[in-house]
Symmetry: C2
């Protein structure tokens, strides 16, 4: 892995992350392909929108279909027909949020599958092994996530456990030509814990550093405050990844604070529930005001949905519950995210990111076009 910074403006950076399976242009948004599919999309269409990398979930894939089946079929890339880089998370977040009855110890997490109730035991070593069996390009350390409501003492102890697990993850990781390992900072909203976590990760030494434990319900200003106090602890020459973030405004604010990589289910999940994310804010296509509107979601958008379909059509297929509604809205949303990232990259390169951010905020505030 090789990370080249091509331009800077303030704390924001534009760069290229070179992996064996392709180049990732940063700041980058990674569409989420939970169970080996970006929901509602064909992989060639995800790529055509400009996505350089997608994220898949270790927790979901270890349960169904199981990593050994994916390995037998030739690895995750072949299995899901995506030849470019894939980042896998470690499963740490999902065992906390999805699994029933998880039991944690310093060794790892015992949990029951949310699908069939079967018991599993996930450790740093096993998580890394699963991710390597899948053939992931960017592998994440196994970590423990703490609730936004945990006390400082609980957060600190949990962070220290995650740092021990980061060390064990690094030891378990087998170097290969195509894969690389990222560490994950924890520490909740507490600056001392974040700083301690960053120091320990840097000591262990990773190819990239993620900020974990955010986007768990905290307000945006708290998230930005944590970033202001976290990012400066990481080395300049390594990529920084803010996990599970977020809304377009969150992403822009995080880029301004020096973050290079993002993932979030928002564009695809919103697409399945009738929400279109646009320059003009969020449009709820189920709203009756769109029923007779011949205009596209966004007349200035160049995505296949906006070029070919009216709001009236999208309103209709969404209300009727047709699959094409999820397809077309997800397509638009992922296009919007990739355009946003591409706009951010150009703006940093041209040292115009603050203008870009100003325009972004004023457009979002202005809101949707008035009804016809």
């Amino acid at each position: 892995m090789n990370f080249k910074i091509k331009g800077k403006e303030g704390n924001a950076r534009v760069g290229e992350l070179h992996l064996q399976r392709g180049i990732i242009h940063t700041p980058a948004f990674m569409p989420v392909g939970t169970a080996a599919t970006v929901k509602g999309m064909l992989p060639e269409n995800v790529r055509s929108l400009g996505a350089d990398i997608i994220l898949c979930n270790t927790y979901h894939l270890m349960l169904r279909p199981g990593e050994s089946i994916i390995q037998q079929i030739g690895g995750l890339h072949k299995f899901m027909n995506w030849s470019r880089p894939i980042l896998t998370d470690s499963g740490g977040f999902q065992v906390m949020s999805l699994a029933a009855l998880s039991k944690r110890s310093d060794d790892g997490v015992e949990f029951k599958s949310h699908i069939d109730g079967k018991k599993h035991f996930l450790t740093p070593e096993y998580s890394i092994q699963i991710q390597q069996t899948l053939g992931s390009d960017i592998i994440m350390c196994f970590d423990e996530c703490t609730s936004f409501k945990a006390t400082e003492r609980e957060v600190y102890q949990s962070m220290m456990r995650s740092m021990e697990w980061a060390f064990r993850s690094k030891n378990a990781f087998q170097n290969t030509l195509s894969s690389t390992l990222f560490g994950i900072q924890q520490g909740g909203v507490f600056h001392d814990a974040r700083e301690e976590s960053a120091k320990r990760l840097i000591e262990i030494d990773f190819e990239g550093y993620a900020v974990g434990g955010l986007a768990v319900g905290e307000p945006q200003d708290i998230m930005f405050d944590v970033l202001d106090n976290s990012i400066p602890h990481f080395p300049d020459n390594k990529p920084r990844y803010l996990m599970g973030v977020g809304k377009p405004g969150d992403i822009l604010g995080a880029v301004l604070r020096g973050v290079d990589m993002f993932d979030c289910v928002l564009p695809s999940r919103s697409g399945r529930t009738g929400q279109a994310l646009t320059r003009m804010g969020t449009i709820n296509i189920r709203n009756a005001r769109h029923a007779k509107d011949p205009r596209p979601l966004d007349p200035k958008c160049g995505c296949p949905t906006c070029k070919n379909y009216s709001r009236a059509y999208l309103h209709h297929v969404c209300k009727v519950g047709e699959i094409i509604s999820a397809i077309l809205l997800t397509w638009h949303n992922l296009h919007y995210y990739q355009e946003l990232m591409s706009g951010i990259r150009s703006a940093i390169f041209d040292s115009k990111l603050s203008d870009f951010a100003g325009q972004f905020i004023s457009m979002q505030k202005k809101g949707d076009m008035p009804p016809l």
Copy 2:
């Protein structure tokens, strides 16, 4: 409209139906786009499989979103982003099968919407008006469908009502450059009623003739028997359309009896329930035998699904309930249907349809590849 027969073998014909929006190569299969979308497919992908025409449902569209909204957006073609011919049915079949509490009279059918219980009254004149408001290319007469279990007397009386409605449909139809009107034969499984119906339709004079009232649960041999006794009554130089049929073997048998056009929800509906239709019969992808199978559905199939995805992947995404499962299986199924039709057309052209039919039957009997 202009129908040219390019070749014949026995009763089977290969031809071209020229409409203003495009040429339909017959025998043709029309994918069903009930509510202005072929479920699970983008229109450009339906076209790329070789579909020259699709079918939409008047009943569904009059209820949601309503024909006037579609007209305001620029007509059904623009609304759903399909520029080639569209055939609309008359709503007669759906008011019988879907609507609650339908009340029939010689004038028309009063029914309650299956969606919101609202009352509607559909007449021949109103059905034709809706279809013309939608901008349909092939418009179907409004008819009454009788159950497979109706007595001969009931079937005859219902057929006579349908013939009166065919006459009224023709009178209500406004000639335009782009649209044409087909009559629908009724008469159940009774040869005299079928003959009488054909004679009356020919007297009224239509551009094409449909066989209605089949594919309502009768065995294949009865359907073929009705066709043997119905098709000869229709003029050679007009297209013949067997409504709602069917399974691949039904289609082949009907082509051998002189039918030119077909529609059926089977390939798309099967795609959404994990069924793949192949040269080797039907494959239930949910079956555990496919869980680790690296082979495509059909190694000789050239569709995007078979070129890029294993049975193991399809099994996984189907079991997990991912949208891509419906997309990929529907894509395969519609491809298989269009390939079948294209094979049938070539075979008739080369006078090899009986060989083709023999091979088709032996392959279907042989069944799926053995497990690995």
